[in-house]
Subunit: 447 residues, 2 copies
């Protein structure tokens, strides 16, 4: 199929706002509103406009690829969930006011699932009976619901949000622990590919329950948790739980210490606040015993299934990354999340020469599989200064100016992270855009 | 990235059922349960297991590509919708018991959106002010909710379902009519690419309102509408509205007639029942006047925006296509919707030779962009007869048997639509799988 459709700012719906409401106090909230990414439909309820939808879909693709690579399978579970399921687990009571509840026309009671342990365990109980079906890793990427007391900070704490939740089913505690290690490693790979500063933090198990739990935190000053990070190994601990970091971080001195200072000269601990974007729980048989999720082992003995659950807040990650990476000019997306990677902006009144050069460059870049659908034209009747400022505000990593002087050996490239113009050939630009270092895949064993 | 992950029936979660519940009377419902595609979580509430999720995602990709090609942009709108929005349009009352309603912890009232005219018009009212932002086509692919009195037939009539809904905004009635024609043509292209018998039917405007409306129906005996189809031009009419077909079908004789018989010898009208899978409405200014969605034209005059809305029931299409295409052995997916296009099945005990040949064939096929992630290995310890029967039950279009006799010049290929073995080389097979005719893109102007 030849290219019949160009992404172009002429037609894209990116309604930039000059003023944002006063209640938008978080930088990420202000920038996502100003940049035409989100629209508030109600308290804690947001529409994702086309630019935010692109970022979420890029996140979904990246997460899907990494989860599939460890043998996970995607499914869809209903949001409307029978009260009886949540009564069986005891969470119908426990969840209190945070659960949205409703009745159907016949008076039957339901909740909008905040999480799907009950549903997926009932499903597995009904469909799995043999050890040959295990291990089984099922995940979903769907809206979930929580009736927050104080929704705030835009997508950081809202009432309808896009989650990736994975539920794992193993035939023994040992296998479930191996799965836990595999998924935690997978989460680290996902966050490394995003290229934002994050840490793995030992955590409490809370309402979900279980015996082992980690959080994944993105460093940002608006975060609710005060953490100590080791920048060398991406480990961290809550400031009240410094022992956890000393156990986990190879850069700590061997003797336990309760001081929040680096225990050895070779390590680089810093304190920061963090935003939780992911959570891993080893659940054991907490839910499988309730819903009778069991299997016959190779000796035809009945055994309970061992579970884990693993969440990633996809819309929350948008805001968390926007908190972690921005400046006075606007958003700064990592390559792996950017709605577009390159904007090609014409300078001065359009003519045949510039039109041809813009489109030719678009096709060269867009034909690279890793850049497909990630290039956008900006041929609006607007000054180059204004176009660059727009591009920097919405956080596009690279902008190329195309004027009458255009020469494919000497592109004018502006990176979002610098103010200097870079001079390079089309070939050099393509090779820069395709380099593993830029996509953060160089250091983590991608073939 | 080299291939590290193979799709394989060894690991895929495809829980085949031998017996289906008695209340599952529709063929599609029985087959989707038997084939391990869906699991019932409650009345009118279904989980999409990995195979159904694959079919829905393929549908989504196809629909997304066609909608983007006419300049549409994807967004996400919240399901939880403020009562006041629906009161403004009058539908809070009109929708009656079909609307799921709920209250939050503070007692504020909401519904779960069955459709998003109110939300998207309020959004456009708030973010669009100039003719330069028009036309604007916004679409979403999300779960929607309807509290059906009698949920039945699996995904055909359920209470939580995946919809593609598009809302279009134009600056004049004339432009809105041109948009209407463009989207209706786009829908026809989508259904042609699926390769299932369908028809465009003039329809009532009902609760949504507006001045012009068409339905898209897939022919199936379980459908609720009795239709007369012209098989030559894919037009159809409700049997009570034969005049509509006579107006629309170029194969009708020019003189109006109320007889349900073909009015001319050259046409081929047949009667059949149909399942509605798509609906188009020209809305005019019905919603824009309510929500004050207006713009300033080139002369700075304030004008109401002209709207259209266009639905496609994505999960419903799964069931509709399964109704339209199946036989006693199971499902028959069109290439464009199949969860996998080719199953590569080993014959007899696995050995190094067969393992190598299976994987090599997998890589050759999977490396074609149009077949990427659509190939599956079947190396289970099971008779070839059993593997073929499984493959036919879940509806995979082609199965290749790989035994010790394997010869890349003479593959053993079994098509789902025939019982005969076909003998062809790998090269011929690849060329068959990539032919535009098989993907139904040959006759509809794809470059």
């Amino acid at each position: 199929m030849t290219l019949t459709w160009f992404n172009s700012f002429d037609r894209l719906f990116v309604p930039l706002l000059k003023e944002v409401p006063k209640h938008a106090v978080a930088h990420s909230h202000q920038l996502l509103l100003r940049g035409g990414y989100i629209w508030q439909a109600g308290s804690g309820l947001y529409a994702l406009l086309p630019m935010a939808n692109r970022v979420v879909q890029r996140l979904q693709s990246l997460v899907r690829a990494e989860l599939n690579a460890i043998g996970s399978q995607e499914c869809v579970l209903p949001a409307i969930t029978d009260k009886h399921l949540w009564q069986q687990s005891g969470r119908w009571q426990e969840a209190g006011d945070e659960l949205f509840r409703l009745e159907d026309r016949k008076g039957a009671a339901y909740c909008l699932a905040a999480t799907h342990e009950e549903t997926v365990t009932a499903l597995v109980s009904s469909l799995v009976s043999s050890h040959r079906s295990l291990p089984l890793y099922l995940y979903q990427m769907q809206p979930k619901y929580r009736d927050e007391m104080r929704p705030r900070y835009g997508l950081l704490r809202c009432r309808e949000f896009m989650m990736k939740d994975m539920y794992t089913f193993d035939s023994s505690e040992q296998d479930a622990r191996a799965t836990y290690a595999k998924v935690v490693e997978c989460y680290q790979r996902i966050l490394q590919r995003l290229g934002v500063p994050f840490a793995k933090v030992q955590a409490d198990t809370g309402l979900i329950g279980g015996s082992l739990s980690h959080e994944f935190q993105i460093k940002a000053e608006i975060g609710e948790d005060e953490l100590i990070f080791c920048d060398t190994c991406n480990q961290a601990a809550n400031i009240e739980k410094i022992d956890g970091l000393i156990d986990a971080c190879p850069h700590a001195s061997p003797s336990p210490s309760t001081s929040p200072r680096p225990p050895s000269a070779s390590c680089s601990w810093t304190t920061s606040k963090g935003i939780e974007v992911g959570h891993a729980f080893l659940l054991g048989t907490k839910y499988s015993t309730v819903f009778d999720a069991a299997f016959l082992d190779a000796d035809s003995q009945r055994q309970d299934i061992h579970m884990g659950c693993y969440g990633l807040g996809l819309t929350r990650m948008l805001s968390a990354v926007a908190e972690a990476q921005h400046d006075a000019e606007g958003l700064i997306w990592p390559i792996a999340m950017a709605p577009f990677v390159v904007s090609i902006a014409s300078v001065g009144r359009m003519n045949t020469f510039k039109d041809e050069k813009c489109r030719a460059l678009y096709e060269v870049l867009n034909s690279r599989p890793e850049l497909s659908d990630l290039i956008v034209l900006d041929t609006r009747d607007m000054s180059p200064r204004h176009k660059l400022a727009n591009s920097r505000m919405v956080g596009i990593p690279f902008t190329v100016l195309v004027g009458d002087w255009f020469d494919s050996e000497h592109l004018e490239v502006y990176a979002r992270t610098s103010h200097d113009k870079q001079d390079m050939s089309v070939e050099e630009f393509v090779s820069l855009l395709s380099s593993p270092a830029l996509h953060n895949t160089s250091q983590i064993g991608y073939a």
